[in-house]
Amino acid sequence: MTQAKKILATGISEAEAIERAKAGDSESFEALYGLHKRRVYSLCLRMTGNTAEAEDLTQEAFLQLYRKIATFRGESAFSTWLHRLAVNVVLMHLRKKGLPEISLDEAMEPQQEDGPKKDIGARDNVLAGSIDRVNLERAIESLPPGYRIIFVLHDIEGYEHNEIAEMMGCSIGNSKSQLHKARMKLRDLLKISRAEKAVKH
């Protein structure tokens, strides 16, 4: 949708809107906001799980963008630049709130919940083909904050573990371990949801 989105409602391209915004054109600011608000807000909402916080962080992300827009040189895509900025705004906010620490010890020591899975009749219970997006979104909302952040950054937003490690101030191994736990938790939630639906019918 990249090129299509670049033809904004006002008929100018995104690149032109950026240049006009650098010059202080208010309509261009608004056009850029309209183009990117959904993705930024969705990111903030998925990472925080709270509507009011997500809106505040969306506002802050765009304000930081506009304050820095004069420095945008086009080396990367504008959306990539904005996206990274939004992620940093959210992480900064979560750190101030007391972001769940990712402990190296936690990652290295096996825990009870990490015991081998020996599902009886597992061959009949695989998830493939049975996940719908509404239930997946709900399950993600239910994840503990630390798991949710890593899952959103890696599996939804596409950041690599080395990038996440740098952003979160943890090791790549910790990032992989937390992601695994997030996926395992989602697996459990989705299976419970599927079982509940089966009981109703």
Binding site: A54, T58, L63, A122, D132
Partner: protein, 209 residues
């Protein structure tokens, strides 16, 4: 290799790699193979999630006030409206966007009587309103893709993927509502999905101008 050992290593090898012993365990153990299949499937489905929600208007209000206060914007000239000059050439696609919004209204506000009406209508041979809209929707999607192929051929695949994704959201939300007509979250997803679809139609229409 036992399952416990394999599953301890799994976080670090699931996206590729692993020793020969780990690969062999994966090939020979149904339980661990199913586990890996599930986890990879979850990751794949997550990639397909699209941003679905817009922030409330207060967000932009806050931004614009701050921008003015900080002197980052010049005072706006007399506005023609956010969308600029009214464009009259959306052609046949604008009514389709309206039909989508109407379908949302019909679907949501028919509430718990929907399943009963659908069953009764089907028994009497009539086609329920939503099923008719669904049939028309597939044809409309095809027309949109043909329009894009004509005017922006390089974007056809992108439009097709986006339509496929938003239709999947619509389908999933409808399925949730079939099971629980009072599911407000599913109603919201459905509304947002239709809005997104209407936006795709509008953008395709503009590509033909």
């Amino acid at each position: 290799m036992k399952c416990a050992e394999f599953q301890r290593a799994l976080p670090y090898i699931i996206d590729g790699g692993g020793t020969a012993e780990e690969q062999e365990h994966l090939r020979s153990c149904n339980i661990c193979a199913d586990l890996v299949q599930d986890l990879r499937y979850i990751a794949e489905q997550a990639k397909l999630l699209v941003p679905m929600e817009d922030p409330s208007p207060r967000v932009w209000n806050g931004i614009s006030k701050t921008l003015e206060r900080e002197g980052l914007v010049k005072p706006a000239p007399a506005r023609r409206g956010l969308l600029g000059p009214q464009r009259q050439s959306w052609g046949f696609l604008a009514p389709l966007a309206a039909v989508s919004a109407l379908a949302v209204g019909l679907y949501i506000y028919n509430g718990s009587n929907r399943a009963e009406q659908t069953t009764t209508a089907q028994q009497s041979g009539e086609q329920p309103a939503m099923a008719q809209v669904a049939d028309d929707s597939a044809q409309d999607d095809q027309q949109v893709l043909e329009l894009v192929a004509q005017h922006q051929p390089s974007m056809r695949q992108t439009y097709e993927q986006n339509l496929k994704s938003v239709n999947a959201y619509i389908r999933d939300a409808k399925a949730s509502l079939q099971q629980n007509p009072d599911d407000n979250e599913a109603k919201e997803y459905l509304m947002q999905a239709y809005e997104q679809k209407a936006m795709l139609y509008q953008m395709a229409a503009r590509s033909g101008e």
